[in-house]
């Protein structure tokens, strides 16, 4: 996997964690179990550093999608986009695209061939 895709997936995992902490229901549940969620600023700082390593155009594409979808980038599995479950055209699987970041023609999510 190309390094920029890897960074993007890491950013997405981090965004999901930050959303959980900001979500009152989830945060309250975790706190009631005894977890201390005191490091949100550290997480946000880590996100800032990670985002700075991603090319701006790619980051912008991700940010727009992440505003709509929990998962904005994902691997192609069983020839499908696992975001919308639409079968992808066979042209996606030619070697020319094996190292490219693809776009699902149905939902617009970013896809990569794992």
């Amino acid at each position: 996997m190309r390094e920029e895709f890897r960074l993007l997936v890491g950013l997405q995992d981090l965004d999901i964690m930050i959303k959980e902490v900001k979500d009152k229901h989830t945060a309250n549940e975790l706190k009631s179990m005894g977890f201390k969620l005191t490091g949100l600023e550290e997480l946000q700082e880590a996100r800032k550093h990670l985002a700075a390593k991603i090319p701006t155009s790619l980051l912008n594409r991700y940010e727009k999608l992440a505003a709509h979808y929990t998962v904005a980038i994902l691997p192609v599995t069983s020839n499908k986009c696992l975001g919308c479950f639409v079968k992808l055209p066979t042209s996606f699987f030619s070697s020319a695209y094996s190292h490219e970041l693809l776009t699902c023609e149905s939902c617009g999510r970013l896809l990569y061939i794992p």
Partner: protein, 155 residues
């Protein structure tokens, strides 16, 4: 969550009864490597980064010798729990400042909501709050005894 269902998460290849690592990051790495070796995760680096970020939010070492590292990642396909035990203990920055002996590593897929793992986490925490169960878990030496503790009638 019924106890039978809870016990079903703990498959034999998802248990480590002799953790070698003694430090926080290395014990996380050891557990993640184990999951990769049994084909449960697609990318160790994603999981490690996610777990390290989670620990920076606040240690998942709740004290009483137990920690619950957890989180969601694209690198995991289904809700997975790994049980690991260290006889010597691990310095895990636990809330009570004591060493951690048992770990429940809980990983959930990114595309599912937090509720997917919160129920499981809550159930496990309620178990360790029972002193008898906790003592048994701390002494569990094999998969059969673990299943007996998690699925048994003892309370």
């Amino acid at each position: 969550m019924e106890s039978r269902k809870l016990a079903s998460f703990f498959e034999e290849d998802l248990c480590i009864f002799g953790l070698r690592s003694k430090k926080k990051i290395s014990v996380l790495q050891e557990m993640v490597r184990h999951l990769a070796s049994v084909g449960r995760i697609s990318d160790e680096r994603f999981i490690m980064e996610m777990l390290k970020n989670r620990e920076s939010l606040g240690s998942t070492g709740l004290g009483m010798g137990v920690a619950f590292p957890h989180g969601r990642s694209l690198a995991i396909k289904e809700l997975t729990v790994l049980f690991a035990r260290s006889t010597g203990g691990v310095e895990f920055e636990a809330q009570d400042g004591k060493q951690t002996n048992i770990f429940f590593l809980i990983l959930a897929p990114s595309d599912k909501g937090a509720d997917t793992y919160l129920a499981l986490l809550s159930e496990l925490i309620s178990i360790i709050q029972k002193p008898k169960k906790l003592d048994s878990l701390l002494a569990a030496k094999d998969h059969a005894s673990l299943i007996s503790i998690l699925g048994g009638e003892e309370s």
